[in-house]
């Protein structure tokens, strides 16, 4: 008899809704309890003068039996007539959430247990949300304790509807919702006489029908480098293929170093060396040239490479003892990469009772939130929805695991593309110097870079400032978003990648204007910090001044001069900054202009003084 592949199934649900009891009773129904266990439980219950408690079959710590709660995850093998389930019994207590998460992350399916009388409670929905977040998509719901509601069909239908619609909002669709009673053993293995109205499967049948997930062989290759084994004769790169497959002769790129080489051979012991290795398998790779590769890099093929970014959004669950707040420095562990990261922003918290996002300044232990993280360096990663294994991470604070999350970097551009560097070029030196130009024009050249949300007032201020400076004798010109997009950047759209290229070109053009001796006012939303930094670096001599034209999203949306917010809210525009695409506020701008506090004339005065001071010629 060959062993089948067991299905890891986590039990989730609110404390006291009877998860452990259900499992204990199921083991009894399947005649899987060790010889004498049922009698032992009966004796134990008699001794403690409590009704027979099936969960005692599972709770193995003395403390668990004493308090009749599960403290830490228990794994129980359930051999049904058709398959083997490894049932992970996870604690339902809020305080034990980290143990529940540990158990659930190892599962590929879940049994969500719900008390027919109490209905969905806080931990029910929290667990359901975490299942979604952890990537557990396959689900069976058991409405337990049907005995307490007299096996009433209407009660079941009500609960079925209630939990079904909550799960639907999470994008989870249970394979089955079944009424059961652990105490009576109703509808576990056999329908019994308790539920004559029930037409659906028994719990066992529903669990036996759950599909076994397959390794991700057809997806793009990802191999996080785990180690490099050096010997006198060779250097072997060790790592597990998380998705896709690799073969001898393939060219591998390592991110984010960008180095690449071909696979010369794959090693193995004691068998012959394989010619290919696929998802779920460990690889031992020898490259065709000596390349400096270290633990933490992510290998892929040249096409379908991971995204390189320092900043990304994530849905996280927080387990830390102190609240999570913007500015918090943490360590990110993503596959084999560890990197320092900073919490740049909390976008919202998820209220698990309603499953709605709500504003939050801090996130406390047990809460789920969407946040923006920024690494000190580039990180190679994927969106969780595309490649789970390289799209999820753990957060640590020193030696403590304080949370975990899944990546959504879809709103941010790939910095790999921006890294393309020109080769074989020799810059020519101008015969006319910067000083000569400045003397002729009476001021130094500069880039005044306006950034801010759509509707913050950038264009109004840019054109007003241009007028003021021009009238005062300055050489000045405005580069404005819509104007540039009609010409120079007519071939670019609004994807993160195109937005990045848009700003890259404008940054270069603005720098040329400044070189020519002009004051160039660049007025663009320019939502990404990295892009603005690149524009700053393109400008010579430190003559780049970042001006944050600030107005709250609500104010901009109320102004809505171009009617774009309305369209974005009504789904007519996708990827609109502030609505469904991120805006990163400047960290240390040279100037902040608050258009909520002051009118345009006052703002222009302030800007004019700023430019006059900064671009003044040395006396």
């Amino acid at each position: 008899m060959q062993p089948d592949t067991p299905l890891a199934l986590v039990l989730a649900g609110h404390v006291d809704h009877g998860k452990s009891s259900l499992l204990g009773r199921l083991l009894h129904e399947l005649d899987l309890l060790p010889a004498g266990k049922a009698e032992e439980l009966a004796a134990l219950s008699a001794r403690r003068s409590v009704p027979l408690e099936w969960s005692f079959a599972l709770d193995s710590f003395q403390a668990e039996r004493d308090q009749a709660i599960t403290l830490d995850t228990t794994r129980v093998r359930v051999k049904t007539p058709k398959r083997t389930l490894v049932v992970i019994d996870a604690p339902g207590h809020k305080e034990l959430l980290k143990n529940m998460i540990g158990g659930a992350s190892a599962a590929s399916a879940a049994l969500l247990v719900l008390d027919a009388q109490a209905g969905a409670e806080e931990q029910t929905l929290r667990h359901a949300y975490l299942l979604k977040l952890l990537g557990v998509r396959e689900l069976v719901v058991a409405i337990n304790k049907m005995d307490l509601v007299g096996y009433d069909a209407a009660t079941f239908r009500g609960r079925e509807k209630e939990v079904g619609s909550a799960l639907k909002r999470l994008g989870l669709k249970p394979r089955a919702i079944v009424p059961v009673s652990a105490r009576d053993g109703a509808n576990l293995k056999a329908p019994g006489d308790f539920l004559p109205w029930h037409r659906g499967p028994t719990l066992l049948a529903a669990l036996e029908a759950l599909p076994v997930p397959r390794a991700e062989k057809a997806l793009p290759l990802r191999l996080p480098v785990q180690d490099v084994y050096r010997s006198d004769t060779r250097r072997v790169i060790a790592g597990r293929v998380e998705s896709g497959r690799l073969a001898v002769g393939d060219e591998l790129m390592f991110s984010p170093s960008g180095r690449s080489a071909r696979i010369a051979s794959l090693c193995a012991w004691p068998q012959d060396a394989p010619t290919s290795v696929e998802a779920g398998e460990n690889a031992s790779i020898v490259l065709d040239r000596p390349l400096v590769v270290e633990r933490g890099e992510l290998a892929s093929h040249l096409d379908h490479a991971p995204k390189w970014t320092a900043v990304f959004d994530a849905e996280v669950f927080w387990l830390g003892a102190t609240p999570l707040a913007p500015g918090r420095e943490l360590t990110l562990q993503l596959a084999t990469r560890t990197a320092p990261v900073r919490v740049q922003a909390i976008r919202h918290r998820i209220d698990v009772a309603t499953l709605e996002p709500q504003p939050a300044a801090t996130i406390i232990s047990g809460e789920v939130a969407r946040i923006t993280l920024r690494g000190h360096d580039l990180v190679a990663l994927d969106d969780f929805t595309a490649l789970p294994a390289t799209g999820r991470f753990v957060l640590r604070d020193g030696f403590i695991t304080v949370g975990g999350g899944i990546v959504d970097a879809s709103g941010y551009p790939d910095q790999h593309v921006a890294r393309a560097t020109a080769a074989n070029l020799t810059p020519m030196r101008h015969e006319v110097t910067d000083a000569e130009r400045a003397t002729r024009l009476g001021h130094a050249g500069a880039v005044v870079w306006f950034t801010g949300l759509s509707g913050a007032g950038k264009s109004t201020l840019a054109m007003g400032l241009e007028r003021r400076l021009f009238d005062a004798g300055y050489g000045v010109y405005v580069l404005d978003g819509d104007n540039i997009r009609r010409g120079l950047n007519a071939n670019l759209g609004f994807s993160p990648q195109d937005r990045q290229e848009n700003i890259r070109r404008i940054g270069e053009v603005a720098a040329l204007f400044a070189d020519a001796g002009l004051i160039c006012i660049a007025s663009f939303i320019s939502p990404y910090r990295d892009d603005r930094q690149r524009a700053r670096e393109a400008t010579r001599g430190g003559h780049f001044f970042e001006v944050y034209v600030r107005a709250d999203l609500a104010v901009c949306e109320a102004r809505d001069p171009k009617g774009l917010y309305w369209k974005a809210r009504h789904g007519e525009i996708k990827g609109f900054t502030g609505i469904d695409s991120p805006y990163e506020e400047p960290d240390t701008p040279e100037l902040v202009i608050d258009t909520m506090q002051r009118d345009a004339a006052a703002c222009i005065d302030q800007l004019f003084e700023f430019v006059r001071t900064r671009c003044r010629l040395p006396a």
């Binding site: 060790p34 003395q62 952890l134 012991w269 460990n282 991470f393 695991t401």
Partner: protein, 265 residues
């Protein structure tokens, strides 16, 4: 080839490599039983035939003679860096434990002293969740307090194979690559791979050892299984627990829990 055994093996090798990459110096407990021999086999696979760290026998002097002979054979054949860690006498163990548990606790003390002497940060060992309910609660990377004890009430969160391997300097980490394996999985793997095992596992005169511990506290079971194939057939049918022959598990309801909390394997 079974997909399931292959998946288990690959998962274990991943853990072994992770331990080696992150916990230095690393060593492995080699009790010479079927589990630790399978683990050692996978260590050799992980490092392409090498065993790049020492293997340790916690020696009470009470192993069966057949076990010592088996050790000497493999030491020669596999060229291992071997540490024979002699365990302190039973008088030094916690006197409040039942007798067999005290005998087992000698190993805890032996390991504690060795770790102190050699400053090992990581110890690989071949325990499995299905062996014993308390072991079922274990983490793959399980930190031990400076005195070697296990804080099972407050274990680190462990998810998605993203193991926590950074701990304060005084903490050592027990690494358990075989947690997800069952006794049957191990025997099927031994059969598939041709891994050597001690002769005591095979029946002689209607008895065999299902689990190997010290000769003073381990007892054979009634069995006619004389080959690996026989053992697999036997295990597919049995409802007896694997450690039925280990006296220390059965003395008192919480004896094993106490042993493990104090640092037993």
């Amino acid at each position: 080839m079974s997909d399931h055994l292959h998946a288990l093996e690959q998962q274990s090798i991943h853990v072994i490599r992770e331990a080696y990459a992150r916990l230095k110096p690393l060593a492995m407990l080699w009790s010479l039983g079927k589990d630790s021999n399978s683990l050692l086999w996978m260590v050799r696979k992980a490092f392409l035939g090498q065993v790049p760290f020492p293997v340790i026998l916690l020696d009470t002097g009470n192993e069966f003679p057949e076990v010592y002979a088996f050790r000497d054979r493999l030491l020669k054949e596999w060229g291992l860096d071997y540490i024979n860690a002699e365990c302190p006498p039973v008088e030094e163990t916690d006197a409040s434990l039942p007798p067999a548990a005290r005998a087992a606790a000698r190993k805890t003390l032996g390991l504690k002293r060795l770790i102190a002497a050699r400053a090992f940060r990581g110890i690989l060992l071949g325990i499995r969740r299905d062996e014993q309910a308390i072991r079922g609660k274990e983490r793959v990377f399980s930190p031990r307090r400076p005195d070697g004890s296990w804080d099972f009430r407050d274990q680190p969160a462990e998810f998605w194979d993203q193991y926590q391997t950074d701990f304060p300097a005084e903490v050592h980490v027990r690494v358990h690559p075989l947690l997800a394996w069952t006794e049957l999985d191990v025997w099927r793997y031994i059969e598939r791979e041709g891994i050597p095992v001690c002769e005591l596992y095979f029946a002689r005169g209607g008895k065999r050892f299902r689990s190997l511990g010290e000769s003073d506290i381990t007892f054979p079971i009634a069995s006619d299984a004389a080959s690996i194939a026989d053992i697999i057939r036997e295990l597919e049918q049995t409802r007896e627990s694997e450690r039925a022959g280990r006296a220390m598990d059965h003395e008192r309801e919480d004896a094993f829990e106490r042993l493990r909390a104090a640092g037993y394997m």
